[in-house]
Symmetry: C2
């Protein structure tokens, strides 16, 4: 395994969805599932699903389908979910607090260890037992605490400065929610959540539907 | 135009990104741009870009490139951004408030007209001059006010119930932030923002980088 540089981004993007749906099946005590059933649940075709899983060596068995628990575990391993990721949040307004709640309640394996802001009204308050610290302290914090993921929840204008500080502090990845195209070095993994792109696509489909 | 049912989802998904980058160029008074320059800014290849724009009849001119203002306007028209979309938010915790701020400050053409929650502590407060109403009033509000987009910012467990009420209230699209796979009728456009999929993909790329 893990010669995964050959696996296309499109496949990697589908794996979390498979895993999410397998988790729900697992919670409903479903033990096995065929590629067509999985297709109905994910919206992908059965042949797409078989192809995707073949990238990693199959998992399935002709006439039996896939073992839900085992497939769930395998996909988790491929996604690197067999370890814990330390995360800091920069920007603790509504969005930062929402992400903190989300990570705390829904994402086992992803642990927020510190939160930072420039706003004196936010510095010192506690969010899920983590005290918001002055943004000035971010550099020092990262020097003393190796962190996997920096989460940017600031305004557009501050995002690049935060990204630079996170980079200097040697985070491995940045999860960016600011509506800005930030630039980072090649050794940093950047994942943008562009709400604008999502909303504009929604508008397109609505406006196209109207005209059909 | 607008026989766009033939345009692939992948192309539609790239258009908002083109438009975002063209807007930044426009703000910097850039008048024209070649497909290779646009490639460097978007991360797509020049040939991909030319192919994408050919779907809509070109826009470009050999040896001149693209006119930034005109391309920006054209893509906006294709995306249906030449009109206003009325939106309601259901769930006014941190996430709902963050989305309300985002739409108000960053998204011209998308107007939040009402917000709803079940929490007595939130009902009655104002967010960007919009008063949070009791969720019980959602049905009646939608009956009297045709709304384009319903935004779900509730917990996982409430999401389907909200989606059902939005559907009964004849919204055209749902923008779902709850970590749940909700089901809607075929005449409703559903756009999910699955934070989990995004974070899991980030973890994959980090964990794979570590092992190279």
């Amino acid at each position: 395994m893990k010669s995964s540089t050959k696996i296309s981004n499109a496949v990697i993007r589908r794996l979390p969805r498979y895993r999410r749906i397998l988790e729900e099946l697992k919670n409903k005590d479903v033990e096995r599932i065929s590629s067509s059933e999985l297709g109905a649940l994910t919206g992908y075709t059965a042949s797409q699903i078989r192809q995707d899983f073949n990238n990693f060596g199959g998992f399935g068995q002709q006439g039996y389908g896939y073992n839900v628990q085992s497939l769930f575990t395998q996909i988790g391993l491929i996604l690197g979910l067999d370890r814990e990721y330390g995360m800091v949040i920069v920007g603790c307004g509504n969005l930062g607090q929402a992400i903190a709640n989300y990570a705390t309640y829904y994402k086992k394996g992803f642990k927020i260890t510190a939160m930072f802001d420039v706003n004196p009204k936010l510095i010192g308050i506690s969010i899920n037992d983590i005290e918001v610290q002055d943004y000035e302290l971010l550099d020092g914090y990262l020097r003393n605490n190796p962190i996997d993921i920096g989460i940017i929840c600031t305004t557009k204008n501050s995002a690049q400065d935060v990204a630079n500080k996170l980079t200097a502090g040697k985070v491995k990845g940045i999860w960016n929610f600011a509506p800005a195209d930030i630039e980072v070095g090649e050794d940093i993994v950047l994942e943008n959540v562009h709400l604008s792109d999502s909303l504009n696509a929604l508008a397109y489909y609505i406006s196209n539907r109207d005209q059909q």
